[in-house]
Symmetry: C2
Subunit: 335 residues, 2 copies
């Protein structure tokens, strides 16, 4: 058994993008679990846009990460030793593990994985938190209905891929926005979207949306904020709904973009609603049943982008904001 | 009986503010009503922010006013001659009269006034369309609840005064934003608001809202858009609701203001919703029953700002955008 717990700690708060310069690696002896605790071996760590927000001195809706602490992160781990009833060595759990190879944690917030629904990669991907976010954003926030025209930004990302497929599986016409020809080809060819717009190649994003959705957009699922939100507002149909899930274009921006088209919400009677996935935690079972069902039937898929080795977590976080990943980004710490 | 119908026609589309230079006065003989029509004598004409939008080549949600046509406007009129069953000379009606003294109109869109609920001034004011707008914005859109902290911008205006009082009468803490000490004093002293903020005197509107609402704003009723919306977004409480009713600060702006704080909608889980009053026309009876009940009980009031003479309609429309009125602005054409 491994006796060392490798950890990556936050040592400086970024102004713009986060990267390796804000972190430091430490090693501590593995700590044996007390009553009510488990010793875990980390398998996969999720890299999510919200992590950059958590690094701020005032993240807003969650406590900040203290300087010198292990970086906060969700992931999948295997139980090594357990002093918790109902968790046994070999079980897989999901929880807030942090960037470390061998965390010792209380059972609170740990969720034992049902491996009949999917394996560890499925649980970091199409059954994971970003998939739940997509499910509730599309259904409970945006009230997507068969026949709707849906636009998803950040469509090749972790949340975006699932949001787009919640749309196609609900018989919507779905248009994805992503950066680069490769991502757009993946959205059309692998995920079966009706259209994909490469925002990096676009000279007039609003015109491109209008061409793809000439009758207007009923649902816009926003992962990016900024000028893309303005372009979507221009193309919304009457009684359209906008689910604001993220704003990755603005998270590390030096100056916030000003959205000029909010006034269109009046004549079009738009509903624009922000949400976070934990608002729906009483309904996670419902979402996982749907996601696992579609996954088993082969109708839902998620492209993962996996980097091997804990040491790649800091550069992975930077990659996310530079759009270097195609699919849900995760770090493989062990197998 | 009067034989001439004085009319004010739109002759040019404004870029910025509308004013007398965009209109011309004409006189035509009064036209006798055909079957299904009435000849009316206009008593009061409502001056509303939406009228400036209607003057645009593409107003968005309604057809434009053709150049050379009588300016579109709602108001109250007395029936002079009727060829419609159920309308008799002397009855008062509400409808889209236009800027003219003696319109001859079909019965479609005319609403016979119940004078037991209120007189002509009540029907242009606290029972009129702007009052209905305020009622549905606060109740159906913003879901105002007892105990909520409510901020209303344009609070001394036609819609704002009623929106603020829908708040106070529903046991909310209500903060009004208006321009000038006189309007703010009226809001506090006559309408009984808990606080009023003079945006013209404010050096930091967001800080002023924070001081008046230290625990956050549950409902923001927005009549003005622009930087005031940004300041409100900064101060919203978790699960707050924003009803976007108007954006008078932007209607004639040379360049639209960019709203920087939309991203706060995520962590705060805000719902931002635009609306127009006609979406609720199946429920006007409910709203009028409530408004008339509060009016009769002496708990609801509306300050009117009346200009005498049809010829003042164009300058009245300019006054509205310059904030020169205190209260609901209307033109008295006849008594």
């Amino acid at each position: 058994m491994q006796n060392a717990n490798r950890q990556i700690r936050l040592i400086a708060r970024p102004d713009g993008l986060a990267g390796p310069e804000h972190f430091d690696e430490t090693t501590e002896p593995v700590r044996q679990p007390d009553t009510g605790e488990v010793l875990l071996e980390t398998l996969l760590l999720s890299i999510d846009p919200a992590m950059r927000v958590w690094m701020n001195e005032d993240p807003g809706y969650v406590p900040p990460i203290q300087l010198g602490s292990v970086m906060r992160a969700g992931g999948i781990a295997r139980v090594v030793e357990s002093r918790i009833d109902g968790l046994a060595p070999g079980d897989l759990v999901q929880g807030r593990l942090g960037w470390q190879t061998h965390p010792t944690l209380s059972g609170e917030g740990l969720h034992k994985l049902d491996l009949t629904m999917g394996d560890a990669e499925a649980w970091i991907g199409p059954l994971g938190t970003s998939a739940l976010t997509a499910y509730f954003g599309m259904t409970a926030v945006a009230n997507v209905k068969p026949g709707d025209t849906v636009v998803v930004s950040g469509a090749a990302g972790a949340v975006g891929q699932i949001a787009a497929q919640v749309g196609t599986l609900n018989h919507c016409r779905v248009i994805g926005i992503a950066g680069g020809a490769e991502k757009c080809a993946m959205l059309r060819d692998s995920l079966g979207l009706d259209a994909a717009i490469d925002y990096k190649a676009a000279t007039d994003l609003s015109a491109d949306i209008r061409q793809a959705a000439p009758n207007g957009v009923d649902v816009y699922f926003d992962n990016v904020g900024g000028p893309t939100l303005d372009a979507a507002l221009e193309n919304m149909a009457t009684l359209g709904r906008i689910a604001i899930c993220g704003r990755i274009s603005q998270t590390a921006a030096a100056e916030l973009y000003g959205v000029k088209n909010m006034g269109l919400a009046i004549g079009k009677r738009l509903r624009v609603q922000g949400f976070i996935v934990s608002d729906f935690n009483a309904r996670y079972g419902e979402a996982r049943a749907w996601l696992a069902g579609e996954l088993k039937a082969g109708r839902l898929q998620q492209r993962l982008h996996i980097l091997d080795g804990l040491e790649h977590a800091p550069s992975g976080l930077r990659m996310l904001f530079e759009g270097g990943n195609t699919g849900k980004l995760a770090i493989r710490v062990a197998t």
